[in-house]
């Protein structure tokens, strides 16, 4: 009996040790960034033009990317969640793939698809569009890596809406657009908002695909993560300060989505 209790205590201690390892390993780098910066240097770094330009580029590009994702992703997710058609599960799997795709592969893929010598390159060129090294390329890279987060969560949110409510609306004479816009979207709003927040956070953090496809130019294509990489060589405190800003943004987004889910 005592032997059993002792081994039970040992087991719990083992679990606690494992958890301590996980927490320590994950928290140390994040705490390190904040401790290294300090509030004084953090506010001071907002005087640097590189930092301001990077934050502006990040805000502009991610706002456009998020708008595109929501406007196109919401009806797409609604279709996936409310109709069944051949190839539907294949499409759901395909949409989830960029979540686990290495960003470097995403960068290569975007070049091969939209670059000057890529699949759509000649067609784009003929209408006068050159994507690489432009702000539009930054938006495309962000939308590519971030949209699965939104579409996936929007799909789940629409799928969780009670179909009898949609049916009831229909029998009351609401048209299909009304059912979508006035019933399904309001009922799914929490999932849609959480998905939008996660997609935005992923877009803000985009690095590899952006560098490969859009390059890095201060004020045009140099987003905050690219500026951190560029500053690391010459201005480590500046890089850390910008890193701290992104860390705080991540905390806010995560806390916001938690609140949304509990709400």
């Amino acid at each position: 009996m005592t032997a059993q209790r002792a081994s039970g205590g040992l087991f719990t201690a083992g679990l606690a040790l494992a958890l301590a390892l996980v927490v320590g390993f994950l928290a140390l780098p994040m705490a390190g960034v904040l401790v290294h910066v300090g509030p004084g240097r953090l506010t001071g770094s907002f005087g640097h033009q590189v930092t301001l330009d990077a934050l502006r580029v990040s805000l502009e590009t991610t706002a456009i990317a998020l708008a595109l994702i929501v406007v196109i992703g919401t009806p797409a997710a609604y279709l996936l969640a409310t109709r069944s058609f051949p190839g539907r599960s294949l499409i759901i799997g395909l949409i989830a793939l960029p979540v686990v795709l290495p960003p470097a592969v995403a960068g290569l893929g975007l070049l091969v698809a939209f670059g000057p010598s890529g699949i759509l390159g000649p067609a784009l060129h003929s209408v006068g569009v050159e994507l690489p090294l432009t702000m539009a390329a930054v938006v495309l890279a962000q939308a590519f890596v971030a949209s699965p987060f939104y579409v996936g969560m929007a799909y789940a949110a629409f799928a969780a809406v009670d179909p009898t409510l949609l049916e009831a609306a229909r029998t009351l004479g609401v048209g299909p657009v009304g059912v979508f816009w006035r019933v399904a979207v309001p009922l799914a709003r929490r999932g849609l908002t959480a998905g939008g927040a996660l997609a935005w956070a992923r877009a803000v953090g985009e690095f590899g695909a952006t560098l490969m496809f859009a390059g890095s130019f201060q004020g045009v294509t140099q987003t905050a993560p690219l500026a951190i990489y560029a500053q690391f060589g010459t201005d480590l405190p500046g890089a850390l300060a910008l890193g701290a800003v992104l860390l705080v943004v991540s905390v806010v987004v995560l806390a916001g989505t938690r609140v949304l889910r509990a709400w």
């Binding site: 059993q4 087991f11 070049l111 050159e130 294509t221 560029a230 060589g233």
Partner: protein, 251 residues
């Protein structure tokens, strides 16, 4: 008894994890291999030299990034930079031994070998061209800034066409070979290394900056082997590999 077995299992797992991490960390050092942090433009020459020197692992990147890693506590045994300033700064900070200049290079205008929209420096200011250069902090970008300052009013027009400031020569080569950029400033050795994908256009003699590479032994490591590696760059297999890649001899 069953719980005891489980507890043992968890401990075994944690221990295994610790051992795996320790092993992995040791693996990063590749045992007794010489660790060399080198400018991205040295990749082909150093890879060839490393095969002859034996037991070397390389970390290639922008010289400024590699220097920043050493300042932040990374300890390769050799640091080879595409300029003299970065190793000199580390020497002044007491992090490396006195730097040794070991090679020279030549900055050129690089364009895609096929279908190039530019054939001379004079055309580089034409509106609508897309140019990729190095970031100001990386040596290739600093040399490019010197060139643009020396070509007078044309330099401003060229600057207006710059679409990307890349963290190392690798990024510039990538933008040119994928057609993302029409032209870029690279070292002649970078153009040679891609086997015909790019074409080099020589810069006017008066605009050319002096490009000198310097290497230094990083303090606190296996300094004897590091010195041996650097000695080989000045005469011997390292010097031969550098010459084969198109580098000039030390000044």
């Amino acid at each position: 008894m069953k719980a005891g077995g489980l507890a043992q299992g968890v401990f075994g797992l944690v221990a295994l994890l610790v051992v795996a991490v320790a092993w992995g960390v040791a693996g990063c050092g590749e045992g007794n291999s010489l660790r060399v942090s080198a400018a991205a433009s040295l990749r082909s020459a150093f890879t060839r030299y490393g095969a002859m020197f034996g037991h070397t692992v390389f970390s290639f990147g922008g010289s400024d990034q590699l220097a920043a890693q050493i300042r932040a506590g990374a300890r390769p045994q050799v640091f080879a930079s595409a300029n003299r300033e970065l190793p000199d700064q580390l020497f002044a900070a007491g992090l490396v031994e006195r730097p040794v200049p070991f090679a020279t290079n030549r900055l050129v205008l690089a364009v895609p070998a096929h279908g190039a929209r530019v054939s001379s420096l004079a055309q580089l200011g034409r509106p609508g061209l897309r140019i990729a250069i190095g970031a100001p902090s990386v040596p290739v970008g600093a040399y490019t800034a010197k060139v643009l300052a020396r070509v007078g009013a044309e330099g401003q027009k060229i600057r207006a066409n710059v679409r990307s400031q890349e963290p190392s020569v690798d990024g510039i080569v990538g933008k040119l070979t994928t057609g993302g950029a029409d032209a870029g400033f690279l070292y002649i050795t970078d153009v040679t290394a891609v086997h015909g994908a790019l074409r080099a256009i020589e810069l006017p003699r008066t605009a050319r900056p002096a490009v000198v590479y310097a290497a230094a032994v990083v303090r606190g490591g296996e300094e004897a082997r590091a010195r041996q590696f650097i000695a080989g760059l000045l005469g011997g297999p390292g010097a031969a590999a550098l010459a084969a890649a198109g580098f000039g001899p030390a000044p």
